[in-house]
Symmetry: C3
Subunit: 225 residues, 3 copies
């Protein structure tokens, strides 16, 4: 840890591996672990007990990704809570907020000023736009696209596996277009497209595409009339 800027403020028992780049005025909480291949921008604030820069692993049944060697980049002004895990090959934009206990996998891009809530999970190969809110305990599955200014309510659930493990690797998460709002505990099925400025009610189960500007609710979700 010899090459850290003198402006960096470290907690106790922090572990920083080789090949880590840390900008000016960064704060890192107690017990946090920063693994090799992590880059942290200026003025970022990292909480306690985080693990940043995890390499993808898994067992033989789990698919491999291309993120094994790419770095984790946390851009300037971003705040990360406590007990958070983030993988390599992921870019977290400027002024993002990541809540405590959240987990973000490899090959993810999160746009600037987005909020990822407490204990929310973002799986691999997913893109989230700018100024989004992903609420507490929301589950953003792999291979998902979320455009700008989207609101994902608490405990929203998504799936990317139409065959539930029976056929390998034919995975596609939902696409959620700009300005759309998803109510708490809604369930989104694999590959569905939810249009711009649409609204999905709390607890809805969305089984097919939702056009722009439409509100749907219920199980299965239907247009409110």
């Amino acid at each position: 840890m010899g090459n850290l800027p003198s402006s960096v403020k470290l907690g106790r028992h922090v572990v920083i591996e080789e090949n880590v780049i840390i900008g000016e005025n960064v704060q890192i909480g107690h017990h946090t672990t920063i693994l090799s291949g992590t880059r942290i921008g200026d003025n970022a604030i990292i909480g306690s007990h985080c693990v940043l820069g995890i390499k993808p692993g898994g067992n033989k049944q789990m698919r491999k990704t291309n993120g094994q060697n790419a770095e984790l980049s946390i851009q300037s002004g971003t705040k990360i809570g406590n007990l958070v895990s983030i993988y390599t090959g992921t870019t977290i934009g400027k002024n993002v907020f990541i809540g405590d206990h959240a987990s973000i996998r490899e090959n993810v891009v999160i746009g600037e000023s987005t909020i990822v809530g407490r204990a929310a999970i973002v799986e691999l190969n997913t893109t989230i736009g700018k100024h989004c809110t992903i609420q507490t305990l929301a589950y953003v599955t792999g291979d998902t696209t979320i455009e700008d200014h989207v609101f994902i309510g608490p405990c929203v659930s998504m799936s990317n596996d139409k065959y539930m493990g029976a056929k390998p690797f034919a995975l596609r998460g939902p696409t959620i277009k700009e300005g759309t709002k998803i109510g708490n505990n809604a369930s989104l099925l694999p590959g569905i497209i939810i249009g711009k400025n649409a609204t999905v009610g709390a607890g809805a189960v969305v089984t097919k595409d939702v056009p722009d500007h439409i509100t749907v609710a219920g199980v299965p979700a239907k247009k409110l009339t």
Copy 2:
């Protein structure tokens, strides 16, 4: 850490900041971090890898609270699991049990002998009564009132934001009255009032108030006949 009672039993690599008060016969597990402004009562048991006394942060879009300077008080006989995060400005009563991976925000009050389950989350400005059970992975949103002897099943989801981020700060969580039971994975909408000794079925989506002593189920939830 010079002023700890000799009866305190500390794990390895424990971090205790300045301005922490710890009672008699307290046990603290390995790697746990206790931040300044935390008070722990006699006979409390704290697990490993916890972060206690977190100051509220967030980014510019997130509202500020008054809890920034108030202490975290964990009262006597309370047990806290492992990998738990708790904020300042919160009071956790006597003989409470907080499960592993749980997270409790600022300005929360939890009454005596209540159980907060594994990975359950309690957001800011919420009051939970005595002898309640908040089950595993339940999500108690901000600005919620839960009276005494309430049972919140596993994976229950609540919301406090009727406008899903479109209008700032008009937040109100549910009110759940004494003795009521909420089934697993039910969804509660913002501001609803669920009366005394009511029952909400598993998976129900509660969109309007529920009178005392009534059982509701379904999507949207209706009175069982």
Copy 3:
């Protein structure tokens, strides 16, 4: 930690208590805590910030189990992520994968080559077969039986308490038979039996038994025709 094999690769600030047995070629990440009564097989890989071998605790209202003295056994070739908690009295078979932030209670058996996803929770006295996938944020309640080759989707919720805390200790989780698939965010009620090679749709609320080879969906779940 004098009797560790020289082939073991330890991270920094690892805590290993007395009465821990660790096999050959085991890797243990930074800050991980291994409590007394834990046995780790050859070639296992453990991430950072885990707590393994937790003794059951709870408060007076919570039932006691027989697992208080039995060991935690993690068998050879198993991989455990970061920020994971696992209790004593549990056996995790060979080549299992346990995701980050997962939590597994006492008296659990997990069969070989099963995947337990990120932030998934397995409660006490539960048996999970071989080659199962328990997806991210799924909640497997206590006293549950899951046979081999079962797929539990993300955010699936189960309950084992028909009386929601009103009557003590009459607990029975679901039984899910071989080859069955449960869609994301489905809710399963206490004691139901889901037959072989059945399919439960996303967001379904399963209130009664499901025969072999049948697909059900909806609230309450009904056979698809």
